[in-house]
Subunit: 232 residues, 2 copies
């Protein structure tokens, strides 16, 4: 703990004038009072980014879905459950930030009609009707007073293709893509490997502990942020 | 810790010739490589029963879905994810037990066709086709060499009606029913309140910590088990 304290203490506070708004973790979409749809996101990557941004001196607002890890000390933690709740909080806080990091694995679909009582298993088959949720990062990118925006793409195939498509279509500044089909990285793992895409470049961050990845990523995001801010 | 140790040490080992097979926690039914359907079960009740049975001297096999709590020391832990895996393990271990406790919140339905790649959100609407899973506790009750069987019913309405129906239809010895719609008990709570139904009686176990509930429940289950064993 002394080592952490010292390295925190001496870390360069290069983000001290910035406010990072970070979403993290999964969302849960209710089916009925006991069942839900979710995903394997542990929140570790988003929390590691929050920690690294705090260390670099940023003010951090962390909007988090249900996870089993503790928020880093010093951040403003906003807890949500559903994609709709995350949307509301993200659209509230993002305009206050200099940087918005959409690291949460937000459910793309919610259940069309949430049952008020537990659904009985009377039938051999059941159809669950889902409707698309609002796209948080795309709507943040439509704001007049939008911050610098970093999206995430967790893919299982054609990673570069989907990531570049998402970057352009949603009008993001950066997108961090990872292959969640690979064992030992991504969802629920302590390690990750990312490729960071901008309209101008592509940077590999090789497999490492999520804290190490986060430290590199925060620095790279800041470099792109500064490059954009100083452009004519 | 000394208090726990002492009370464990002096507890009456009234289950020392019994082997309890207990299922606990939720299951997760995959939708695609990143998404799944689950429920709010924390595993706390099943783990508390395992702990109480171990204290009373039983051999305990704990078949558990994904939870964030530690298994009690001394139990045989079998970890599973899906309802199908839990079914396989339960049908393997239950015949070896004197008592089978179906405390897990097993998914009633699984996704008909699990997507091999992450489903893209191309459409505004999506239909998820589900098919019914095999009924673990009902199939254990059909075994020739079946143990004494205790089911659970987590309901949000008409609790006594559903519990008594399940007891009879599935041919169980006992059923422990709780109202998961009530705040502060049941799913994900540290407290619970149960009603235990047999074909002959109905016993209320009022709201208390799950460890307290589990201690009472284990003793009541044993009383019913002994009554059944000594019947002509």
């Amino acid at each position: 703990e002394l080592v952490t304290l010292s390295s925190d203490f001496f870390a360069d506070k290069y983000l001290q004038d910035q406010h990072w708004v970070i979403t993290a973790g999964p969302t849960r979409e209710a089916i009925d009072p006991v069942r839900y749809i979710s995903n394997y996101s542990s929140g570790k990557m988003g929390y590691a980014i929050a920690h690294a941004a705090l260390r670099a001196g940023a003010k951090v607002t962390l909007i988090s879905g249900p996870v089993n890890i503790s928020a880093p000390r010093g951040c403003e933690l906003i807890e949500v459950t559903s994609a709709e709740q995350m949307y509301q909080q993200a659209l509230t806080y993002a305009p206050q930030g200099t940087t918005f990091i959409a690291c949460a694995a937000v459910a793309d679909y919610r259940v069309a009609d949430i049952a008020k009582e537990k659904i009985k298993k009377d039938n051999e088959h059941m159809q669950l009707s889902l409707v698309k949720n609002q796209d948080i990062v795309a709507d943040v990118a439509k704001l007049a007073n939008k911050p610098f925006i970093v999206g995430f793409a967790a893919e299982t195939q054609n990673i570069a293709h989907y990531a570049r498509g998402k970057l352009k279509r949603k009008n993001l500044d950066l997108i961090a893509a990872n292959d969640v089909a690979k064992a030992g990285q991504g969802f629920n793992s302590d390690d990750n490997a990312l490729t960071l895409y901008s309209a101008f470049d592509e940077i590999e961050i090789p497999l490492a502990n999520k804290q190490v990845i986060a430290t590199k990523l925060v620095s790279l995001i800041n470099q792109h942020y500064l490059a954009k801010s100083t452009k004519p």
